[in-house]
Structures are given as structure tokens and as C-alpha cells.
Amino acid sequence: MPLSNATCEAIRKLVDAYPERRTALLPALKLAQGDVGYLPSETVVETADLVGVPHSAAFELVTFYTMLRQEPPAKHMVVVCAQLPCALRGAEALLRELHDGLRQEIADGYVDVERTSECFGACHRAPMARLGDEYRENLTGPAVSQLIQELRRA
């Protein structure tokens, strides 16, 4: 799927916004991902061409950063932090509850529940998860059942 006209325009603007065009590459890839949903090879190539850098420069970033995806995501992406501060406050229990409560949705590929060892800077409101770009914090007790209800297919 080619990039929308609006995205192409936004990427061209980015290139002009920085002292050197290659600085625009990462933000451009994020815009492209926002448009297409992920970064298939043809989107990476198109973005690199718009920024005016070699295709390899763009693949170098896509294959490095965890927030750039080469595969289409599930409808709802839940990423649970399991690093020490969250682990000390019930992250593993949260993961179990999400896996149990969303068994069907996960099997269908509608929801993806991922455990990460990365810290998201919400240790004082642990355990937590990112739902897409949103932070969901203090995920204990009723807050977990509420999140599960929210992610169940209507």
C-alpha cells in the first residue's frame, strides 16, 4: 500500500525541518508506520526515497528499534513491563491474568499480549502495560478485569 498524500507531504516537511535530511529518517518511518500500520519493505523503500537516503539506511533503523514493526500488528497490542520494579509488584500475575482472560482473543490474533524486560518509567504505578501508545498503570484487582473487558470482542 503506497503512503497517503498527507503522509508524503508531512515527510517532505520533516526533511526541511532539520539541519541534515537524514535526521528526518526516524520520524519519517514512524509517520509511515502510523499510516500503513507497519513497515513492509515497500513502505521502507518509499520512505527512504522521500527522505533522500539509501534504502539500506532505512532498513538499518527498522531492524533495530523495537517500536518499528515489519509485521502487521494485532488489533490491540498490550505490552506488559516485567522488569524488576514491576516484577516486584505483580507483573507476572498480571501477565497470567491477561493470558487467561483473553485466551480466545489472543488465539484469534485480535489481541497480542507481550512481556518485555524493558522499563517504561512507570515503576511507581506498577504493574503497568502499554496499550498501543497509552499507559495503563496500577494494574491490580478491578483495573485488570476492566482492561480485559475492554479488550474482549464486543
Partner: protein, 429 residues
């Protein structure tokens, strides 16, 4: 909560608040007075000298004297840059997030003062990709300050230009390493550069560049406004002055950000008086003071004062002051494995010892915790750590070995119990 100390916060002046302080509010509370003072009454050199006299040390972890860093920037003409490190990703650290989300103008005023001090016209705020809310808020604050003529072209009707750009990362701890951050800003894989040249000489776009942490810069407005003499009255001169935000997390009743002067409280006082003690009245097994990147302090070190020198004398580092509390029920091997899993995930892969070493350290820790440890494993962990630490380009490789070396040395009997009994004696998480 028992407040052990009569202290008026300087950085997080609205404790408990979650919404951003607006430009109007910030100005009504004396905000941008330092910026006015600098532009109207001080030369760039005087700003640098005041920050030097204040004794401000970098709050991102390394503790390098900020004024000295600024002083390294050559006076020669041509572009210079400020890169603000808002890539906060150290486990247990959530202070820059609160500063940006709640006090965005304090951060911007600090950035503007740094730009003025080194004659830079452009600053990049490198903010981690997951901090979407924080990035949106500081972008809105920049727009407000530019509209009011405080920042942008011709700040406060002078000839001084300050353009602040927000650059959002995409998920990589290594971008908090200053040269990896520059690589990321230049659109390349964020892999650390070899030094020299240092960023003060050849940084962003091969131009002189200052890289400072968010909290470091948030200290600067108060230093310029109230003077280095006042700043020196907080903490102890010369090496531990000023306020510090302590991020308290783990097995405490009330985790959170607590701003206090350096050295004002001990680890125990922070846990008991601010964190309201350990959950369930349990005892403390150990406390990490610099997230997962420095040795753990054992329970007999809880009366250590929280400043750079005292924590170092106790055998660890204050670092970003991210205190993670482990209680008596916490399995130290499992904790070490989890910390190592982090470094395995975050190693950028440039230096072989770090890329391979973190992976092997994790696997060995994991097998010990799962009851499959072999008798020689502890010596293997220590010798392997020795092959990583000091043999890599950046500090990540050194950080990655400290949870292993420190816990094996200080909790050796717990490791041995796992290996002897071929099981983990602690309850599951």
C-alpha cells in the same frame, strides 16, 4: 506520611500533580525570571561560571560537573548544539517523565539557559518513543513559549535565538548513551562512538555539542535566579550540592518521586519516612540505588546517606538515584536474571563482549534460578563478567556485569543454595 525535613521543592514544585503547569502559572510563580535575568544582565560566560560555582553535577547518572561540561565548548564561531537527554529508560527511573509532564516550562527554561551559555541556537530534546504524553506536552509548552516571545527568534526582544525541537525515539535504552543519542539524531543506528573526539569538540553534525539530562537542566533556572550561594546551602559543598529527585520503587508501600537535597536522608529514611516502609512490614534484603546499573547495597548499608560520595563509599553509585527495594522474600538470583535479561535486550550489538556476554550471563543466571545450575557456574559468571567489563566502547557493558558480580559476591550462599538443592527456594512471582 512523616515528613522528616522542612524542605521546599525546587524542581517538582507541585508534588502530587499530574497535569502540566501552564505558562501563565509558571510565570506567576516566578518562572522565566532566570531567563530574563540572564538575557538582560549576564554574559554567557557568567552563566557558565554561576553553574560551575553552584557545583551542579549531571543528574542522568554520571555526575559530571555541568559547568565544566559547558566550559569545554570552544568559543569559535559556527553552529553549536544542545542535546537534551530525555531517553529515560533505566529500570526504576521515572523522574524526567514527571518533570516534563508536569513542569515542562522549568525544563525549557533550563534548556534556553544552556543554549545561551554555550551560544547554541538549536536544541534537540531526545525523548524516548514511549513517552508520547510527555512529548506532546513539551511540544505544546514550546509553542506557548514561542508565541509569548520567550523562546524562538529574538527571545524577549533580544538578538538571541533559541529553537527547541522535540525528537522522539523508537525504543532503545542505548540512546541514553550520549554518543548513541547523537547517532540516533543523525538518523543512523544508535551505536556508541569511540572517543575522542568528545562531543564538546565533535558532537551532533560534527559540531560542538552539550548533552545534558532533563533533571540537570531543570536545576539551572533556580541557580541563575537565586544564585550559586543559595544553591550551595542545599546539600554539602563542594561535591554534593543541590536538590535531587529520588525515584523510589519496588517493595515499598508508597513508591514515587521524592525531591530532597543531596545527602539529606539515608536510604533507610527514604524507605521508611517517604516510602512508608516495606510492604507487609518485611525486612529489606537489598536496595539498588542506580537502577539496575550499579552494585546492590546490602541491608547493612541502609544508613548510607543519599549523595554521590556516600553511596560510592558504600560500594555502589547514586547514578540517576533510582532506588529499587528488594524485600526478604525476593529471590536474588531471579532478580539478577531479570536485570541481565534487560541488558541482553538492550545491548546494541556493536561490541562483541557485550553482545555475547550479556546473553550468556542471562542464560547461566536463568538456569541457576530454574534449578539447573552446575557447581562451577558462579566462577563462570565472575570470569565471564571480567571478559565484558572494561572491554567495550560504552558503559552499558560495564553496567551489565554489576548486577551479576555484586549479587554473586554478596549473596553467594543464596546462589549456592539454588545449585545445591537444584531448585529456587523462594515463592514464585
Amino acid at each position: 506520611m512523616t515528613i522528616a525535613l522542612d524542605y521546599e521543592p525546587v524542581l517538582l514544585t507541585h508534588p502530587g500533580r499530574t497535569t502540566p503547569v501552564s505558562l501563565a502559572e509558571y510565570e506567576a510563580e516566578g518562572g522565566y525570571a532566570a531567563w530574563r535575568k540572564a538575557l538582560q544582565k549576564m554574559s554567557p560566560e557568567q552563566v557558565v561560571e554561576e553553574v560551575k560555582a553552584a557545583g551542579l553535577r549531571g543528574r542522568g547518572g554520571a555526575g559530571f560537573p555541568t559547568g565544566n561540561k559547558w566550559g569545554f565548548i570552544p568559543k569559535s564561531p559556527g553552529a553549536k548544539y544542545v542535546a537534551v537527554n530525555a531517553d529515560e529508560s533505566e529500570p526504576g527511573t521515572f523522574k524526567d517523565r514527571e518533570l516534563i509532564e508536569v513542569e515542562p516550562h522549568r525544563v525549557l527554561e533550563g534548556i534556553a539557559l544552556c543554549c545561551y551559555a554555550i551560544s547554541a541556537e538549536t536544541a534537540f530534546i531526545y525523548i524516548r518513543g514511549e513517552y508520547v504524553e510527555a512529548a506532546d506536552r513539551i511540544e505544546a509548552a514550546i509553542a506557548d513559549a514561542e508565541l509569548a516571545g520567550i523562546l524562538g527568534r529574538g527571545c524577549l526582544e533580544t538578538q538571541v535565538n533559541v529553537r527547541i525541537l522535540v525528537f522522539r525515539g523508537a525504543g532503545a535504552y542505548i540512546c541514553g548513551e550520549e554518543t548513541a543519542l547523537l547517532e540516533s539524531l543523525e538518523g543512523r543506528r544508535p551505536m556508541p562512538r569511540s572517543r575522542p573526539p568528545f562531543p564538546a569538540v565533535e558532537g551532533l553534525y560534527r559540531r560542538p555539542t552539550v548533552i545534558n539530562n532533563v533533571e540537570t537542566l531543570a536545576n539551572v533556572p533556580a541557580i541563575i535566579d537565586r544564585g550559586s550561594g543559595w544553591y550551595n546551602s542545599l546539600g554539602t559543598v563542594p561535591r554534593n550540592t543541590g536538590p535531587k529527585i529520588f525515584c523510589l520503587s519496588g517493595r515499598v508501600n508508597r513508591p514515587g518521586n521524592y525531591e530532597l537535597p543531596l545527602g539529606a536522608v539515608t536510604v533507610r529514611e527514604l524507605i521508611d519516612d517517604y516510602g512508608e516502609g516495606v510492604i507487609g512490614g518485611k525486612s529489606v534484603k537489598g536496595v539498588l540505588t542506580a537502577g539496575v546499573s550499579a552494585p546492590i547495597l546490602t541491608a547493612d548499608k541502609l544508613d548510607t546517606k543519599l549523595d554521590y560520595d556516600s553511596v560510592q563509599a558504600a560500594g555502589s553509585m547514586l547514578g540517576s538515584a533510582s532506588l529499587i527495594v528488594l524485600d526478604e522474600d525476593t529471590c536474588i538470583v531471579r532478580a539478577a536474571a531479570l536485570m541481565e535479561e534487560f541488558f541482553r535486550h538492550e545491548s546494541c550489538g556493536k561490541c562483541t563482549p557485550c553482545r555475547e556476554g550479556t546473553s550468556w550471563l542471562f542464560k547461566i543466571l536463568q538456569r541457576i534460578e530454574q534449578g539447573r545450575g552446575a557447581p562451577g557456574d558462579l566462577d563462570l559468571l565472575l570470569s565471564l563478567s571480567g571478559e565484558v567489563s572494561g572491554k567495550v566502547l560504552c558503559a552499558l557493558g560495564d553496567f551489565a556485569t554489576s548486577p551479576v558480580v555484586a549479587t554473586v559476591k554478596q549473596y553467594r550462599e543464596e546462589y549456592e543454595q539454588h545449585i545445591d538443592e537444584q531448585r529456587c527456594p523462594f515463592p514464585a512471582w
